[in-house]
Subunit: 340 residues, 2 copies
DNA sequence: TTGAAAGCGCTAACAT
DNA sequence: ATGTTAGCGCTTTCAA
């Protein structure tokens, strides 16, 4: 491959001159600049980022580290964040990683390698310890999650998220207010120290607040957020085991969609025979039949806040802060008042 | 940050010794090995990938370069490919990039920087020229697209894809065989040298083969694959402008889902008043109401073939080859025979 | 089994 | 305006 030395030789100038052209430094004669740029094209020169990052001490790059490939809720958020970061004159690098690896470790490595000035974590754990977080030595923001199950000091981390417990409670209360008492929950897990557990707690809180006894047989754990087949089967099992519930609270839109199909296949119409409420507010859920009644996360504002927070942290060494956003009920066709 | 020199000093050994430990070289005494590994933990050492890649001449890394963040069809394919590549003992690096950048340029850069041994392109253009492809100097495979609109020699590239034109033709013929003659098409674009244009051609071929005149007023271009709102509006426009069609061929599942909602909101029931067929075979489409009748891409086999092809290219300098897969009609609830 | 040293491609002083 | 050179962190000969 062509390197900067080849370019220099080809043009009969010094390596540093080529470097200056490549980095838009002002003090290069127009003549040399053009000569070098022509060589770049002719020799198909492509700069080596590794070498660049090795010698550089800083960059203008913020990384957005996404854990979990196929979360449809993330797609929109990523777009918003990318737009805003770019608009503010920074470079955003998108990195995806498997759910099996530790995001803090990857972040630490990336921060070093690519001389990052900030990291936005998307889809991380809710239970960091101070020691773990200490690995990250650049400003960072947890996007769509917070440290509920960890023991970080509020002054030591920034986060942008909804109040999952509160949202779940609100969703379930929406059903209660329509007269429902036998309300099932469709969740990923009920004790994983994560978003599912929080929303599960909110579900229990709502029941509790309204004097409805918690019934374990109305809890259906799918073990997945994305495998619709598994969600469908879990819901089917629930239906076959308990015929008394009149409503389902699904902790995510996709789960609700699979559940509605399972209900339909078991002869239960939504919302006539069963009401369904979820949390997320995917665009997709506005286009299903029936449309889904769901608590919408304010993606636009959240993405903007993520971007602004990291930039504030970088530019002004702003204080760490936890932002909590309110979800908004998007009325759909999946709920109805329970007949007396 | 801690580097290899710090480790060496801390342990009282040479840098090269530390490097040997870090890279699992055999000729290191057990004592030194442990001493170094302890230091790695104590000092929170994280190797610098940039430095590593700079000095290395090769790696065991294959990159999967994905263009376009939110294509739900890709999610499954990525999983399959990742599993197989890892299983074969290679490392897969997943890279996402915006649709606005050129995948070949990014690929060339990455190949250099990360010392890649192969690249899998996902979501690229259909019209590469030999000069463009020459940028890539490692084995590569085009996944889910081929060079229909370009001028590469068959011996110069490998691809794994369905026959888009053929699939579209089959989809439309399925409708024709059910008695439909007024068949609308919902597509992204009809002349973008890409998948949409191919499927559009297949649509026209089918009409042609069955003596049905092509009617431009039945063509609805959304300009997007993913913005369901736009797809909904485009479909609504179509419905309001032409009340004669009895079926819609949507070139992608998500489009069909938004279209079904638009039809429903205009008082047209699917499949009673309008049949809908699509291409993709998303898992989601099995869980909508009605379920979508769609041509399923054999994702599992395609992913496996992508992985096997790149590995064969790498290991055995295998010949370039274009693999074409057949789609399979997944019967759903969105079509019916047209009443006489 | 270990150490010394060259050099990967590049940027950024420092000279001129 | 341009050239010379040190060195980023690491791997890999080559010597010992």
């Amino acid at each position: 491959m062509t390197n900067i030395k080849d370019l220099a030789q080809h043009c009969g100038v010094a390596i540093s001159t080529v470097s200056r052209v490549l980095n838009d430094h002002p003090d290069v004669s127009e003549e040399t600049r053009e000569k070098v740029l022509r060589a770049v094209r002719e020799l198909h020169y492509i700069p080596n980022t590794s070498a660049r990052n090795l010698v550089r001490t800083t960059s203008d790059t913020i990384a957005l580290l996404v854990k979990g490939v196929n979360n449809p809720f993330f797609a929109k958020l990523i777009k918003v964040i990318e737009r805003e970061i770019t608009k503010q004159g920074y470079t955003l690098e998108l990195h995806h990683m498997d759910t099996s690896v530790d995001e803090l470790h990857v972040g630490a490595q990336l921060a070093n390698d690519r001389k990052l000035i900030g990291i936005l974590f998307l889809g991380g754990r809710f239970n960091y310890s101070p020691e773990e977080l200490a690995l990250i030595n650049v400003p960072s923001v947890f996007c769509t999650y917070t440290n509920t199950f960890g023991n970080l000091n509020d002054s030591d981390y920034s986060s942008v998220a909804i109040d999952d417990k509160q949202a779940a409670r609100f969703a379930v209360e929406t059903l209660v207010n329509l007269g429902h008492r036998r309300i099932a929950i469709l969740t990923d897990n009920d004790d994983d120290n994560s978003i599912s557990e929080l929303r599960f707690q909110g579900y229990k809180d709502a029941l509790n607040a309204h004097g409805i006894a918690f019934d374990p047989s109305l809890v259906a754990c799918t073990g997945t957020f994305s495998d619709m087949g598994a969600i469908y089967r879990t819901t089917s099992d629930l239906i076959e085991r308990d015929n008394s519930f009149t409503a389902i609270f699904a902790i995510a839109d996709l789960m609700a969609i699979a559940a509605i199909k399972a209900l339909s296949d078991h002869g239960k119409r939504v919302p006539d025979d069963c009401s369904v409420v979820a949390i997320d507010g995917l665009e997709l859920s506005e286009y299903t039949l029936p449309t889904l009644t769901t608590l919408v996360q304010p993606v636009e504002e959240m993405g903007l806040t993520c971007a602004k927070t990291i930039i504030d942290l970088i530019e002004s060494h702003g204080e760490n802060k936890q932002y909590t956003f309110e979800t908004v009920l998007r009325p759909g066709g999946s709920i109805r008042r329970l007949d007396k």
